[in-house]
């Protein structure tokens, strides 16, 4: 880039690079918190683009969406508008793992999010490619675009998704490219490298989209949505939409033979592609090779939207050449005559090693440079959005010298996500799963508002409307619990008849309804017959009451574990600590700790390569440091 073409393009408090799911949350957060914000994107037509599957939510991810909502983010609101099918997963498995999942109309999602961004007063939206982050004295000062525009900024949030040095792979064919036929961003990657930021190379893949009219859904299993629809956002009480179905079909021996016969044409198996892909999203050739005992694999056929004929073929992602794709797709029942509209491809991209970030998502060694989303090695729209929101909030907290928003593992899935990324790093695109959360029973999707609305209020993203609604709900829950404790069910004929009816043991003495609700057979709904004075409550309220009462024993157990956890989290490690002076630590532990710079003993214990023995040494050292300090006083 020649210097003479540079021009002064403007001055902003915050510049957000990228307009995907992370960028949108980040920019909306900073703008809403009063910062003059610029959102730079390579294409205005790709704002909040769902580049892969047409779903929002799912296990763990549905939790993230609700948390984003409770904190005052945007994703849940838009997802509710774009919803064309709703399912509550894991209904048979208990409230901690109930997960909302929606089929979303991709175009509606994009259009509606774009509109919200355009209407946001403090937010400018511009098309342009960022090519260089300008840093002076370890502090960001601005960003340069490909066309020479120099934007001054106090903080920058990088949300580049899979664009950095993106490369598309389809069999023997590979070329530079971003997702969905868009351009890649090559220069910014180099700029980051020059700032001494460690980059990694990840890959991910997406299946083909086929024309609805070319497939036969009548031979497939139909998958309808659940009713009634439960909205993602706590601000919505219901969604009226006629739901569209998805379909399920299977691969077969013939499909597998085609794949096996063409393995050498896959760049992964040919060894041309060495980047690391996600284990939870294996290509079909991976599945066939690794699980060769399975004679069929599931293929889900999902609409990409209401006004498009494109169908997303979930379970069928591949890096095999287009020619082979056509053969193998057509070997599947119902897809015999399918016309592929967009072929499957894998994309390889640069991301940063997220252990270079603080838990605020700010880079450890450059002030006010934040990263969020797939560029941090994560995967998924919801994971990206969660990080975008946290990065946005913390950029503002930084600029205003306010206390940052750091959610810990016992407070939110977002906390688990960020802690995992910055503490352990990741060797593959990181996906949220409920099994990554230690305190799952407490971190439910149904209580995300109870956990996080106050925090969102503190940082300033929760408006009065949301806050009042939340306070009212909180009060109703509390009142109802108090009431249930006071109402006594006595062993009257009526009560005994009710218990007999539901197959429960009869009462010997009077018990409160609250205690009665702990019995597995008793539900809030079925005990209405013996609870005559019951007030009429919104469903989320009585459901919350029921869950809290029914699982109280287990929840208390988790609270005890959380107490233990908080003790270690509370033991802060001074920033000035020099791990190389602690001779008792093994070399690996010394190196890892020096790199990660954990802020507490709790975080230190999660750094990979730090053994329990190392932790003992560290604890003893900190204790000695503390004592020496006290002695000096």
């Amino acid at each position: 880039m020649k210097k003479d073409i540079r021009f002064h393009a403007g001055k902003y408090d915050v510049v957000v690079v990228g307009a995907g799911h992370a960028g949108c949350e980040a920019a909306l957060a900073t703008a809403r918190l009063g910062k003059k914000t610029l959102m730079l994107t390579m294409s205005l037509d790709a704002i909040a683009m769902m580049a892969c599957n047409p779903n929002i939510g799912g296990t763990g991810k549905g939790h993230l969406v609700r948390e984003i909502d409770a904190l005052g983010g945007q994703m849940a609101l838009i997802a509710d508008q774009a919803m064309i099918q709703f399912r509550m997963l894991n209904m048979s498995k208990g409230p901690a793992v109930h997960s909302l999942r929606a089929q979303a109309d991709k175009r509606i999602y994009h259009v509606n999010m774009k509109q919200v961004i355009e209407e946001e007063p403090n937010l400018d939206l511009k098309q342009g490619e960022a090519v260089e982050v300008i840093v002076e004295n370890s502090q960001v000062t601005g960003i340069l675009t490909k066309t020479g525009g120099l934007y001054l900024a106090d903080a920058i949030i990088i949300c580049t998704g899979t664009y950095l040095k993106g490369r598309i792979y389809m069999g023997e064919v590979n070329f530079e490219g971003g997702p969905s036929g868009l351009f890649p961003a090559n220069d910014l990657s180099n700029s980051l490298k020059q700032l001494n930021i460690d980059l990694k190379r990840f890959k991910t893949s997406t299946p083909a989209r086929v024309h609805r009219d070319s497939i036969d859904t009548t031979v497939m299993e139909i998958q309808e949505g659940d009713n009634p629809i439960e909205p993602f956002s706590f601000m919505n009480s219901k969604i009226d939409v006629s739901q569209v179905p998805c379909y399920l079909t299977y691969t077969n021996e013939k499909t597998h033979d085609i794949i096996k016969g063409n393995l050498s044409r896959s760049p992964m198996y040919a060894g041309e592609m060495e980047s690391i892909g996600p284990r939870y999203c294996p290509s079909i050739e991976d599945k066939v090779v690794r699980f060769s005992d399975k004679d069929k694999h599931q293929i889900f056929v999902e609409p990409e939207g209401l006004d498009t004929k494109e169908m997303y073929i979930q379970g069928f992602s591949t890096t095999l050449p287009e020619e082979v794709q056509i053969q193998m797709y057509r070997s599947v029942s119902g897809l015999e005559k399918c016309e592929i509209m967009r072929p499957a491809y894998a994309i390889e991209y640069d991301c940063i090693d997220p252990t270079q970030l603080k838990r605020t998502l700010e880079l450890k060694f450059i002030d006010n440079l934040f990263f969020a989303g797939q560029v941090n090695g994560s995967s998924g729209y919801e994971e990206a959005a969660g990080q975008g929101l946290v990065a946005g909030i913390n950029a503002v907290m930084n600029l205003d010298n306010n206390e940052p928003l750091v959610l810990d593992r016992s407070e939110a899935y977002i906390g688990v996500l960020i802690d995992d990324l910055v503490t352990k790093g990741t060797n593959e695109p990181y996906r949220m799963m409920t099994s990554r959360a230690e305190y799952r029973l407490v971190l439910r999707q149904d209580n995300a508002d109870l956990r996080l609305t106050e925090k969102g209020r503190r940082v300033g993203l929760v408006n009065d409307d949301r806050y009042l609604k939340f306070k009212e709900k909180e009060q109703l829950i509390e009142n109802e619990k108090v009431r249930l404790k006071k109402v006594i069910a006595n062993p009257t004929d009526e009560v005994q008849a009710y218990l007999k009816e539901i197959g429960a043991v009869p009462l010997k003495t009077g018990v409160s309804l609250l205690d009665l609700l702990r019995r597995p057979e008793v539900t809030y709904l079925n005990c209405a017959v013996i609870d005559k004075e019951r007030p009429i409550l919104p469903e989320p309220v009585w459901k919350q009451v029921e869950t809290q009462i029914k699982y109280q024993g287990y929840i208390e157990k988790q609270f005890k574990q959380i107490e233990q956890f908080k003790k270690l989290e509370g033991k802060k490690i001074p920033e000035s600590i020099d791990y190389n002076l602690i001779t008792g630590l093994r070399l690996e532990a010394r190196q890892k700790l020096s790199l990660i710079k954990p802020d507490s003993l709790g975080q230190a214990s999660r750094v990979s390569g730090v053994s329990p023995a190392d932790m003992n040494v560290l604890m003893i050292y900190l204790e000695q440091m503390r004592r020496t300090k006290n002695d000096e006083r």
Partner: protein
């Protein structure tokens, strides 16, 4: 972290051919050098590392304290990862004590119990469970106990725990895959399956806890109390067991006034024997204290050897003793079978059957004691050479917690609780077991999910 230089007598105090004094720390070589005169005339730091050097420990005036072999070992390849020197001198108390005294004069600090191992641990040479095993090894009382510690060092307990942990992780991975990937056609884990596995795990943990009784006995010895009215031969019995005349033995009743503790190795079972003043209703105040002490000790004892005098009639004191110990593990020994038998147990038939007839003077019937002790304490089913044995209180406590957690799992399954609740207790079980070996849980699990199940879009 700078640490001072520590020293201690490394061998056990008592009658032995050689004694070893060990020093560790930055000043280890320097301080020994100051008091050591090598035959070759060189100072210690000039002599080759990790070799044995002959010479003398001497006073400032050159007077020889002892003739010694000295081994200097430079860091980091030593037990503590610090400079270590071992001084091999003559055995017994005098020599080691005098050498240690000289070292303390040089500024070496007397090591606390277990401090060498603590340093090995702090310096990252060994992990926590190994450190604990070493501590057990140091205080091992008999060969079997030594074997137990060696097994633990080599990870037999770890192996047994890992087997259980693997079962738990498999079970969890299956549950988690059902939870996190509900759309996929992985088989749903059934409650029956969970229940069966949980019960199996419970019994495995239970068995490990069971072995802890044996394990702990091997480390700490079976607290054995010798009880009997005065002059029935208690001290003679103890002396026989000790093979030395430690306690005073006379014909005057009431000579042993206090309790004395000794360790003996009886057919591989370590006994910590407490001799007591004879139980006698007495007015003698000193003796009375001894008697009360003895009765008090009954509660703590693991084994009681009751001695009767066959040449005397059964007396009230005998009956009192039997009343006091009726809930304890006991051997009933009828001594003095060499004399005319006057005692009769017709009134207490249960004793008649288990009575062991001995004559300590004539060395008769004593093998039967060994046999009975073995029968009582070495459960035939636990083989010290083969089984994983728990012989550490911390481990035992964690196992007890794990057992209670897996019991909760079983209870929750039986109560038809939802899977996310059951999982809380499974995870807890896993975490307690992991605390023993020091392994992380979550990463195992995620790896397991992806290696065992075919999932993903």
């Amino acid at each position: 972290m700078d640490r001072d230089t520590i020293g201690a007598v490394a061998t056990s105090v008592g009658i032995a051919g050689i004694g070893i004094v060990r020093v560790s720390g930055d000043q280890a070589i320097g301080s020994v050098s100051n008091i050591f005169k090598s035959k070759k005339g060189q100072s210690l730091d000039m002599l080759s590392n990790r070799k044995i050097h002959y010479g003398w420990i001497v006073e400032e005036d050159g007077k020889i304290i002892d003739e010694v072999l000295v081994v200097p070992m430079k860091r980091p390849y030593t037990y503590t990862k610090e400079d270590v020197v071992e001084i091999h001198c003559h055995g017994g108390i005098v020599s080691v004590e005098r050498i240690l005294k000289k070292l303390l004069d040089q500024g070496v600090r007397l090591a606390e119990r277990g401090e060498f191992t603590k340093r090995a641990f702090l310096n990252g040479r060994i992990d926590l469970s190994q450190a604990e095993a070493v501590m057990d090894l140091v205080s091992a009382k008999t060969k079997n106990s030594f074997q137990l510690s060696m097994n633990q060092l080599q990870g037999r307990l770890s192996q047994a725990l890992n087997d259980i942990r693997k079962q738990l992780v498999d079970m969890l991975a299956h549950i988690e895959v059902n939870i996190d990937f509900p759309e996929y056609d992985e088989e749903e884990v059934t409650r029956e399956h969970l229940l069966n596995i949980s019960r199996e795990i419970e019994s495995k943990i239970f068995r490990l806890i069971e072995t802890s009784e044996v394990g702990m006995i091997h480390r700490e010895g079976i607290k054995t109390l010798i009880l009997g009215k005065p002059n029935v031969g208690k001290s003679s019995l103890m002396n026989y067991l000790l093979n030395e005349n430690r306690a005073i033995v006379t014909d005057i009743p009431g000579t042993t006034r206090d309790t004395i503790e000794e360790f003996v190795n009886l057919a591989g079972v370590p006994l910590k024997i407490i001799d007591t003043a004879g139980i006698r209703q007495t007015e003698d105040i000193v003796e009375k204290i001894g008697v009360e002490k003895a009765l008090h000790k009954i509660d703590e004892a693991d084994l009681i050897l009751v001695v009767f005098d066959g040449s005397r009639y059964l007396e009230e004191e005998d009956l009192m003793i039997m009343e006091k110990i009726k809930d304890k593990k006991a051997l009933y020994l009828l001594n003095k079978t060499d004399l005319e038998e006057k005692i009769s147990f017709d009134s207490i038939p249960y004793i008649k059957d288990v009575l062991i007839r001995i004559s300590i003077i004539n060395n008769e019937g004593l093998m039967a004691i060994e046999k009975e002790v073995k029968k009582l304490f070495l459960k035939a089913s636990i083989n010290v050479e083969e089984d994983a044995v728990v012989n550490n209180i911390r481990h035992k406590n964690l196992l007890l917690k794990a057992k209670s957690a897996i019991k909760d799992v079983i209870q929750s399954i039986e109560d038809q609780q939802t899977i996310d609740c059951i999982e809380v207790d499974i995870m807890e079980t896993l975490e307690y077991l992991g605390e023993i070996t020091g392994d992380a849980v979550r990463e195992d699990l995620v790896d397991k999910i992806f290696s065992d199940f075919c999932i993903g879009k």
